[in-house]
Every structure is written in structure tokens, then in C-alpha cells.
């Protein structure tokens, strides 16, 4: 069975590399054919042995360097230089196939490209689907810092724990991975069941249990005061939120998102999808990069600080953070480039686009608060966390907001801000009493600002808004002519009456409502 699968895959690889000219890396392979990453490496190695000629191979060489301080190095090396690089390593270093491709790409990022696209697709899947990236099924590393079910918040824990009970046996022991091991080709052996991948349903619990195991490890670390423990483990506070697991996540979402009521799943999932798409550039890149690092260094324990949030929640996938300590340079730099490549600008755009929406969120949050104390508690926690976690983002948001509106912001929620497509869902779920209105005005720099507001609830706000708009209008754009002070002249004949007469005489008086006033452009001297 496994043999046949492998054969098929080998054929596929042959086709992809030579016909499609694609870079096939073990990660891509692992995700695409649902085999573990170690299995994927093995298959690649086999492929290389069989069809290696005429193809370029990038190897992962990891081990201790001879000359420098004892620092564990992981390098990506092309086939040509393999022997040369190997000499630099001390003793027996591990050599694995990283990828095969028709030729070595000029831009190293091309190595990651197909993986990146793939990862994007996987994360775009609805949150209900547990794909291999969500649960990190094929990663050889598990990390004690990864906390999944720490806090005892709500019903999230039990189901997962039951999973642990069921499957711990079959899972690769996380402790084994965690113990400092020297290069592990043995991974092949360790690979428990080659079938795993082919049926996601079976596979899911395996990894879950793995991560929960690590989660419970961490729980042991953090023990009672989770807040106190967080800084110590360098944990991003968000973990709390993510830790609330399946049951708690609903409440979390209510607290965070602007949906007022209706605990139906449907809007939520769709939102999650849009969320993740909205967030793609950064989050995905980060994840990709981090994965690149973490799997490459799967046998590397020097990279201590790889913190991942792995949550089946889907939404929280975007929270995955990686903090790593670069003890080596080459390959990792590329990875970092990947991570920070495209996003920032787009992100900020999104922020600014959707900043108005945040207001709504704040409002609705307050609703939710009223609805249930528990939820609001959770929410407050999460927002507080966010304030700590993402100061920069938040600043950005606030800055944008200040530019456009003077409204006080309750809890700027970066999550929601980052996903402009939130709105439609909101609409669907929103009760009919309030009407969503778009208000367009020109701000002090002459740009057009469109605000989204709720008519009924925000009547007060809207009024003040309007006032703002009006005052600003008079500052910048001329309002109708009649509003302006009439020409104050000593001359007996002039005033308004005459102006009116002239107007009606010459043109139609009606249109002058829209006519700008020159006085609003030029100040008196």
C-alpha cells in the first residue's frame, strides 16, 4: 500500500519537476500528498536516487560547524556544492533533500513559492476543515511553548482531552522530539503509520494530541497564574484566547467580532474565511517562513524561541507568531525576507480602509458586554491582551482614526480592523432596527472619507458627526453661498437682496446650493 503510494508520488514528482518545471520541496510534498514531512523527505531522497540526473537538488545540511563556535547550523545547499559544504561541518551532519527542481532559481524565494501558495490555499479553507497546516500535522517539531489548552476557560478543554486519551499511543511522542537530539535521520523509522495522511480524519487527532500534550506541558509550566506565567515564557498573551479551544471560541468570536447576536455557525465560518483572506499577506507569509525555519531545523534545538500558536480554531491561525533567534545566517535570512516581503503597505491600507468599521465593533462590543457578563469578561481579556500584543498595529489604527474621526474609540480591535470584508456578515446578522448608513464627507486634507454608521443607535454621534462635517466643510469646501456673511459694505445699494436678484436674473437660483464660496478658499487679510 505504502509502496504503491510512494510509486505514485514519485511519478507525480517526475511530472511536476520535468513537465511543470515546479519546485517540489518536501514541505509541499508533505502537504500535497498528506504524508509526514519526514516521509516526504524520504520520498524525495528516493526520487533523487532514481531520477537525480538532470535535475537540481537543494539539500538541507545540518550539523555542527567545524571552525566556529559550537552553533548548530542548518544550510540549504545546492547539489553541486554539497561536498564542499559538507566538509565544513563536523563529523556526521544530516543531509536531507529539501527540494528538487529543474534548475536552481535565481531568486531564492522561488524555492518557497509553491509552498507559499499552497499554504495560502490551505489557510483559506473554511475553519471547520482541519487541514494539515491548521493542526500542524506533519511537523517534526513540537514545542513546549505551544499552548493550546492552558486556561481552564470553559468547555473548550474536555473534548480535546478526550482526544488525548484516545490517541496518545499512536502519536509520535512529543517529548522524544523535544529532547535534544542530534540529526535525526531516524525520523524515517520513527514515522509510525504511513497511512496517516491519506485520511485526514484519522490523522487529525494524532497531531492534536501531540500539541495538546505539549500544551499540557506548558500548562505544567505556567501552572496556576496564567497571566504571571505568560511573560516568563515569552508567550504572546494571545495564546489565552486561542487556548480557549473549541467551546470557548464562540464566545471569543462574539466578544471580538461585531456580530450582535445569532450564534449560528454560518456567518462565523464565512467570516473566518474572509478574515483569513483579508489577513493573508502577513500572516501567511509569517507562517510560511516560520514553517520553513521550523521544519528545516526540525532537529535543531538551538532555535529555542520558536513559538507557535497552533489552534484548530482557524481564526486564530493568524495569530501564529514566530520569534526566532538567528544563530545562523544564510538560509534564514531568506526566510525572513519572505516573511516580511509584501505585506506592510497593504496591511496599513486595509487598516485605514476599515478603520471606520472598528467604531462599529466597539459599539457592538459594548452590546455584547451587556448581553453576558461572561463574554464580556473574555472579551476584555482578549482586548487587553491585544493591547499588549500588538501595540504597533493598534497605534496605527488609532492614528488613522484620529485623522478621520474624533469619536472616542472603545476598544480598537486590530483583528477586526484587519479584515475589511467583515461588513457583509455583519449585515446579515444585524437586527433590523438599526440602519447602516454611509456618510461621506471631506476631511481636513480634502480627502473623501466615507463613514459607516448605525442610524438609530448613533443618532447622537451622527449628529455630532454632521456638525463636524459641516464645520469642516465651511473650512475647506465652500458651502452654499448664502451661508457666508454677506458682503459687508458701506455702499448703500449692495446687500443680499441684490445678490439674490442677480442670481435669479442670470441663472437658476436652485443650483447655487451646491456652489462653493470663494471665501472658504481664501482668507481675509
Amino acid at each position: 500500500m505504502a509502496e504503491i503510494g510512494t510509486l505514485n508520488i514519485l511519478g507525480e514528482i517526475q511530472y511536476l519537476v520535468s513537465d511543470q518545471l515546479q519546485v517540489v520541496s518536501y514541505k509541499w510534498l508533505s502537504r500535497n500528498f498528506s504524508v509526514s514531512s519526514n516521509e516526504a523527505k524520504r520520498i524525495l531522497m528516493e526520487f533523487v536516487e532514481q531520477n537525480g540526473s538532470g535535475l537540481e537538488i537543494v539539500y538541507t545540511v545540518s550539523g555542527w560547524l567545524k571552525d566556529s563556535d559550537p552553533v548548530y547550523h542548518v544550510r540549504l545547499v545546492s547539489g553541486v556544492k554539497l561536498a564542499e559544504v559538507k566538509k565544513k561541518f563536523e563529523g556526521n551532519c544530516s543531509i536531507q533533500v529539501y527540494s528538487v527542481q529543474p534548475c536552481i532559481p535565481k531568486d531564492p524565494a522561488a524555492l518557497w513559492n509553491s509552498e507559499f501558495v499552497q499554504a495560502e490555499e490551505l489557510f483559506n479553507q473554511p475553519s471547520t476543515i482541519d487541514n494539515c497546516l491548521r493542526d500542524n500535522r506533519f511537523c517534526g517539531v513540537s514545542n513546549s511553548f505551544v499552548i493550546r489548552n492552558v486556561s481552564g476557560t470553559s468547555a473548550g478543554v474536555p473534548p480535546v482531552q478526550s482526544k488525548i486519551g484516545g490517541i496518545t499511543a499512536s502519536c509520535r511522542s512529543s517529548s522524544a522530539v523535544q529532547t535534544p537530539t542530534v540529526p535525526q535521520q531516524k525520523a524515517k523509522v520513527q514515522q509510525s503509520s504511513p497511512k496517516i495522511g491519506h485520511s485526514p480524519v484519522v490523522a487529525t487527532p494524532v497531531i492534536k494530541s501531540e500539541s495538546t500534550a505539549s500544551g499540557s506541558n506548558a500548562q505544567a509550566h505556567t501552572n496556576n497564574g496564567k497571566v504571571a506565567a505568560l511573560p516568563a515564557t515569552k508567550k504572546k498573551p494571545q495564546s489565552e484566547k486561542s487556548s480557549s479551544g473549541a467551546g470557548g471560541s464562540l464566545a471569543n468570536m462574539w466578544g471580538r467580532a461585531s456580530v450582535k447576536s445569532k450564534p449560528t455557525c454560518l456567518p462565523e465560518t464565512s467570516k473566518t474565511v474572509t478574515d483569513s483572506t483579508g489577513n493573508l499577506p502577513t500572516a501567511e507569509a509569517q507562517i510560511c517562513a516560520s514553517e520553513a525555519i521550523d521544519t528545516v531545523s526540525s532537529d535543531d534545538d538551538d532555535v529555542q524561541c520558536v513559538n507557535h500558536k497552533r489552534v484548530s480554531n482557524g481564526k486564530s491561525n493568524r495569530n501564529r507568531r514566530v520569534v526566532f533567534d538567528f544563530s545562523d545566517e544564510d538560509d534564514f535570512e531568506d526566510a525572513v525576507c519572505l516573511a516580511s516581503a509584501d505585506p506592510p503597505k497593504e496591511q496599513s491600507n486595509q487598516n485605514s480602509e476599515s478603520n471606520t468599521k472598528t467604531l462599529l465593533v466597539g459599539k457592538n462590543n459594548s452590546n455584547v458586554e451587556m448581553q453576558s457578563v461572561d463574554q464580556s469578561n473574555i472579551k476584555q481579556e482578549t482586548t487587553a491582551e491585544r493591547e499588549i500584543t500588538l501595540p504597533s498595529k493598534e497605534d496605527e489604527v488609532i492614528a488613522v482614526k484620529n485623522k478621520t474621526t474624533e469619536k472616542p474609540v472603545k476598544t480598537p480591535d486590530p483583528k477586526v480592523v484587519a479584515c475589511p470584508k467583515d461588513q457583509p456578515t455583519e449585515d446579515v446578522c444585524h437586527s433590523t432596527k438599526r440602519r447602516r448608513v454611509l456618510k461621506t464627507r471631506i476631511d481636513e486634507r480634502g480627502r473623501e472619507v466615507t463613514e459607516v454608521g448605525w442610524e438609530a443607535e448613533e443618532l447622537q454621534d451622527k449628529n455630532s458627526d454632521k456638525k463636524d462635517a459641516v464645520t469642516e466643510t465651511t473650512n475647506n469646501r465652500p458651502s452654499e453661498a448664502k451661508k457666508s456673511p454677506a458682503l459687508a459694505s458701506n455702499a448703500p445699494s449692495i446687500p443680499v437682496g441684490k445678490a439674490g436678484a442677480k442670481k435669479s436674473g442670470k441663472g437658476r437660483g436652485v443650483k447655487d446650493a451646491k456652489q462653493g464660496n470663494i471665501m472658504s478658499f481664501f482668507k481675509k487679510v
Binding site: 440602519r435 458682503l487 458701506n490 445699494s493 451646491k514 456652489q515 481675509k524
Partner: protein, 266 residues
Amino acid sequence: MLELRLLQGSLLKKVLESIKDLVTEANFDCSATGFSLQAMDSSHVALVALLLRSEGFEHFRCDRNISMGMKLVNMAMMLKCAGNDDIITIKADDGGDTVTFMFESPNQDKIADFEMKLMNIDSEHLGIPEAEYQAIVRMPSSEFARICKDLSTIGDTVIISVTKEGVKFSTKGDIGTANIVCRQNATVDKPEDAIIIEMKEPVSLTFALRYMNSFTKATPLANIVTISLSSELPVVVEYKIAEMGYIRFYLAPKIEEDEEDTKPGV
């Protein structure tokens, strides 16, 4: 003591003709730099700024800065009495309440004196900042006048859009719509027929045609009109006055959308 002798008296006649419909009365300010006027129309939508530099006068004597309030219709009537080739001299005493226009025929055989009462006008002088405009269009003034006249038969407003391709004047009225596109056209032999567009960004603004039409009364002053547009600024329609100055018309754009433009939620 003020004494300004202008050889091309017709210029002053044309200036007055061009602004008297827009502005009923205004202060003429005279200083060492020149003879200037700034005034708004009565509805405060348009502003006219006139400058005749002192160098342009054959004789320019202005002992102290002086501001003379005049009713432009009256002044125009008096200037109509001057022949097109006449030399016009403007004279005023410090602290006096009259101004004298003296017309000399070219061969000096006829001299006419017209004295006009000044009036006290409390005008609002506006500071007009120097600005970079997003688009500047130079085109034959007669062409511009024609366009404005034609469009005003169809609609009340003109949308002036400047793109790389050219400048488009469009209007919409009860009977239909009209679009006039003028392409950039600098290669013609006669420079006064050229249409030159300097554009930093595309810009599109809406203006009341009746003001535009009244600006084009300055067409006899210059062959070329310069239209400067910026999205946050009034349009400037400028006519050069024979190397000695300019007359500029500023017009506030129409605001395109209503502020109340709301959309009900789904």
C-alpha cells in the same frame, strides 16, 4: 498725488468691460508696484484680481498707497468715451474724493477730462496663496470663450476634466448633453493657437457656466487664456494684459455630492 499715463488706453477699457458685469464696485489700489484691484462678485463665488504693473505705464507716479472705491459701471461708462487709440491718464489727489480720467487722442488734437466721484467701499481683501496647480491648460482665449458660450446653451454647469489626452468640457441639460474635448496641440505654427496642457494629476471639477461666460468677457485682452485647476482650489482663469499685468478670475467649484448622501443598510 496720483498720475498714471497709459499709452494703450484700450487696455483699460477692455479691463473694465470684462469685470463690470461681475463686480459692481471695487477698490482700485495703487502703490509703487502698480495699479491693482481685487474684488468678489456679490455672491462671493468668484473673485477677480487685476494687476497692471507700474512698468507698463508710460508715466507712473504714486506718492502714497491709495485706494479708490469706484462704481465700475460708471467707470466703464466714462471709459467708453475714450477712443480705442486714446492715451488714458488717471489722476487723483491724495485725500480727494474724485478721480479724473484724461483721454488724449493719438495726435494730441483732442483732450477730454472726465471726473468721477469716488465711493467708500469697505471691501474684504483676501489673501490668495501661491499654489501649485494639478493641471494648467493654455488655450486660445477665443476658443475657450466659444466653448463656454456653446455649453451654456445646453447646461448650467461645465465639468472641466483634464487628462493626459486633453481637456474636456462637458455639460448636461434638459435637452441633452455636450462634450467638447480639446487635445494637446503644441505643434502648430501659430503659437497663439496652441493648446498646451501641463498636468501633474488628472483633475475634474464642476463650475457654473454663467461665471465662466462672464470671465470670457476678458477675451479681447489676450489671445491666450490660462486655466489652472486643482481639486481643492478654485479654478483660475487668467488673461495676460500685454506684458504689463494680468487679470485673473477665481471661481469656486461646485460641490459635487451632497453631504447628506446616505445609503440605507441592507
